[in-house]
């Protein structure tokens, strides 16, 4: 039993860290926040060049076929700099395509997504739906084609997407439909939200035609692929939260060592010390949870699903608590727009919801433990 990263994993970690430091300064994050898309074409294509989009996907589709631990490593480092852009969205879409078992569409789309040329996202949530909920957006058949009508909410990075995988309903069946952003009847509206570093959109589908060859999966295989992609998404977000926590902890510890009040560094007050200690505990334990989930999923351990819900629950709750301690330890300055804490704090909050909030995942965990249905 060895929790240490392997040599190649450490090298990956090092190279992502160096890359992020060079390419994604806080100043750059602020510039991107102020745009409508938080998207940096050049940065994105450099990330893709490194192979960091869908690193766990098969080599046949230009993936690196690494384990989910490597995905977690990349996500953690991205979290540390609060990387803007469609990393989570692209991974989700790519994973969903890969898991759908539709080789034709996978061959057609996956390589260009992984290479960063095609921007893809997934449209799941609707008003009044949940991450478990069955989508209400319905499909009607129209000869050999389908028609989609309805509204999707909170779609990650849709404003820059070329391709949208829509989770829709055809009677009792889930369908995954691939829609182009330019298709007639598709209207994408950016919906500004708490986290300006990752943009959300509302998409309305007004009788959008989807040819049958653009149906990625239906029925059980769609459900299964969706479930798996949500799990891998939850791993990536959990790891990203670990990176956010690490940055926040480091920034706070550094600050309280130097900031003086009542003629002493505030870090010498027990009330501050103990908050910092708690932040350390939350960060380290979250890291253990996120990486275990990544490892267990890669290894198909029997507790993989549970470990993901645990990681998402724990990392979400921890990052929120840690962020609150961090602002408190900073005092007024931590509450300003000028301090970088603000965008980490808000990203944490957005991540709390993404792929299911702690309440949602606790219900999953309870269901596994209590087997009530």
């Amino acid at each position: 039993m060895d929790y240490d990263l392997s040599k190649p994993q450490k090298l990956l970690q090092e190279s992502v860290r160096t890359f992020c430091k060079r390419k994604c300064s806080p100043e750059r994050v602020r510039e991107l926040m102020a745009t409508d898309t938080a998207f940096d074409e050049e940065l994105w294509s450099e990330i893709a060049d490194q192979g960091w989009i869908g690193p766990h996907l098969p080599e046949a589709y230009e993936g690196l076929e690494l384990s989910l631990v490597e995905l977690a490593i990349i996500a953690e480092e991205f979290g540390r700099v609060c990387m803007p852009g469609p990393f989570i969205a692209a991974n989700w879409a790519a994973t969903l395509i890969a898991e759908s078992g539709n080789a034709e569409l996978a061959e057609k789309y996956l390589p260009s997504i992984i290479e960063g040329e095609l921007k893809a996202t997934v449209a799941l949530l609707e008003q009044g739906s949940s991450w478990a909920g069955e989508p209400q957006l319905t499909v009607t058949r129209d000869g050999n084609n389908y028609k989609l009508s309805g509204i999707k909410e909170l779609v990650l990075d849709a404003a820059i997407a070329d391709l949208i995988i829509v989770v829709a309903r055809d009677g009792d069946d889930t369908c995954l439909m691939m829609v182009k952003a330019t298709d007639s009847g598709v209207e994408i509206t950016p919906t500004p939200s708490i986290d300006a570093t990752r943009k959300l959109c509302r998409i309305s589908f007004d009788a959008v035609t989807v040819p049958s060859e653009q149906v990625l999966a239906t029925g059980e295989s769609a459900d299964k692929a969706l479930r798996k992609s949500l799990q891998i998404g939850a791993i990536a977000v959990s790891a990203e939260l670990v990176g956010i926590m690490q940055w926040t902890l480091d920034a706070t510890v550094e600050y309280v060592k130097t900031r003086k009040q009542f003629d002493q560094p505030v870090g010498s007050f027990q009330a501050v010390q103990h908050q910092c200690a708690e932040m350390y505990l939350l960060t380290e334990s979250s890291r253990a949870a996120a990486y275990y989930a990544a490892w267990a999923s890669s290894e198909n351990e029997p507790d993989a699903a549970r470990s993901i819900s645990i990681a998402k629950t724990w990392c979400s709750d921890s990052a929120r608590k840690l962020g609150n301690h961090a602002v408190q330890c900073h005092g007024g300055i931590g509450f300003t727009w000028e301090h970088d804490l603000q965008f980490y704090y808000k990203r944490s909050k957005a991540n709390e919801f993404l792929f299911g909030d702690p309440t949602f995942h606790r219900e999953q965990i309870a269901e596994m433990a209590l087997c009530t249905t």
Partner: protein, 391 residues
């Protein structure tokens, strides 16, 4: 023990209510609240003028200075009713609740005559220059200097977290006038005209993106000696008076503000659904709502209890630290609960006009501003419970 309002208190409330019913203006559109716009400012000033004309400015001031001599309970009824009526925020609040009472307490006759009328009429808007970037909770460690030069002080330094400074006419300023003395003993209080040469103001943006606070810079600003409030180097005593007044009557309006927000949440919870289930029927949401109701009621009761004491003793007591803790921590927990209950869509700026995001982010500052929670707990431990000092 009699928790009913007295007849006098009821009459006060009723006459205020009927006045408000006639005079409260249309609310300013929520999505157009640019704190720096002149239109908004004028809207607020007009309201202050209306209050003055109606005889409702400075209700707690003695009648000889134009007030109504309201008791603490009446003052709190005033603030609660104002909040409940959805009246605009009071642009004269710093003048009315802090500067005026302080001038009344320690100012000389000339200062009283010169400054008090303008505060009530709303002609003269005040801000308060206490906090400094490097002082934080340790307010007395301020370094903004005033040096005597003939009949003037020359002021240099920086203040921060200054509400209304962007448009205020005057500033109640704490400065250091003796750098050799122990830190509490070299501070003086000045009344500074914000139009003086060398004063500049820049907005301080909060993490929510809103401004509402400012930084104020003083560069060789000349302040006539007659604008010194209280004695030289005894300004810390003045500051304490101000700080004690700061929260005394605030509780009731903070309560109403939170109650309106809780009512809004309850309305949403009754209306919205998730996966076809009404949010109001989810047992987890029900527990969270009930907890929010409980905590808010605890705040109301604690505030009332404190007011009832203040009404008898007229001196704000250590209950204020409890109230500050209850309010600030409730604000944070409530915002967190609301976001949990409302779910994913609450992230969007267009969900309930962004109210919940704003509340979530804004409340993060509540345990810092006006004395951090750590300071409040120190105060309770040391002053109320008599524990030895921790630092």
């Amino acid at each position: 023990m009699d928790l009913n309002l007295t007849l006098e208190e009821q009459e006060f409330r009723d006459s205020l209510r009927s006045w408000l019913a006639e005079h409260v203006p249309e609310p300013w559109p929520e999505d157009d609240r640019d704190e720096t716009s002149l239109q908004y400012w004028n809207y607020l000033r007009a309201w202050q003028k209306k209050l003055f004309d109606g005889g409702w400015a400075g209700v707690s001031w003695p009648s000889e200075y134009g007030g109504r001599g309201a008791t603490p309970i009446q003052s709190s009824i005033f603030l609660a009713e104002i909040a409940r009526a959805g009246a605009p925020q009071s642009v004269g609040i710093i003048g009315e609740s802090l500067v005026g009472p302080t001038i009344i307490a320690v100012g000389n006759n000339e200062q009283k005559e010169r400054f008090l009328p303008g505060i009530l009429s709303g002609e003269c808007i005040w801000c308060q220059g206490f906090s400094e970037p490097n002082a934080g909770s340790d307010v007395a460690s301020l370094v903004t200097r005033a040096v005597r030069d003939g009949d003037d002080f020359i002021v240099n330094g920086q203040k921060t977290w200054t509400s209304f400074a962007n448009l205020a006419d005057w500033c109640l300023l704490l400065v250091r006038t003796d750098t050799e003395a122990p830190k509490h003993k070299g501070i003086t209080c000045l009344l500074v005209d914000m139009k003086s040469e060398g004063v500049s103001v820049s907005p301080l943006r909060q993490m929510s993106g809103n401004s509402g606070f400012n930084e104020v810079f003083f560069s060789d600003v000349r302040v006539p000696v007659e604008n010194q409030l209280g004695e030289l180097n005894r300004g810390w005593g003045v500051a304490i008076t101000v700080l004690m007044n700061e929260r005394a009557n605030l509780g009731s309006s903070l309560y109403v503000e939170l109650q309106l927000s809780l009512e809004a949440l309850i309305a949403s919870v009754k209306k919205l659904t998730r996966d076809g289930q009404r949010l109001a029927d989810d047992p987890l949401n029900r527990q969270k709502i009930a907890q929010a109701i409980t905590e808010l009621e605890i705040y109301r009761l604690s505030n009332d209890r404190s007011l009832s004491r203040l009404n008898k003793n007229a001196i704000p007591g250590s209950e204020d630290s409890i109230l500050k803790l209850l309010w600030s921590e409730y604000s944070q927990r409530f915002a967190q609960s609301a976001m949990e209950i409302l779910g994913d869509s609450v992230q969007l700026n267009d969900f309930d006009n962004g109210t919940w995001i704003y509340r979530y982010l804004r409340s993060r500052g509540s345990t810092i501003e006006g004395g951090t929670s750590e300071i409040q707990r120190n105060i309770i431990a040391e002053r109320v419970l008599g524990l030895p000092k921790s630092y």
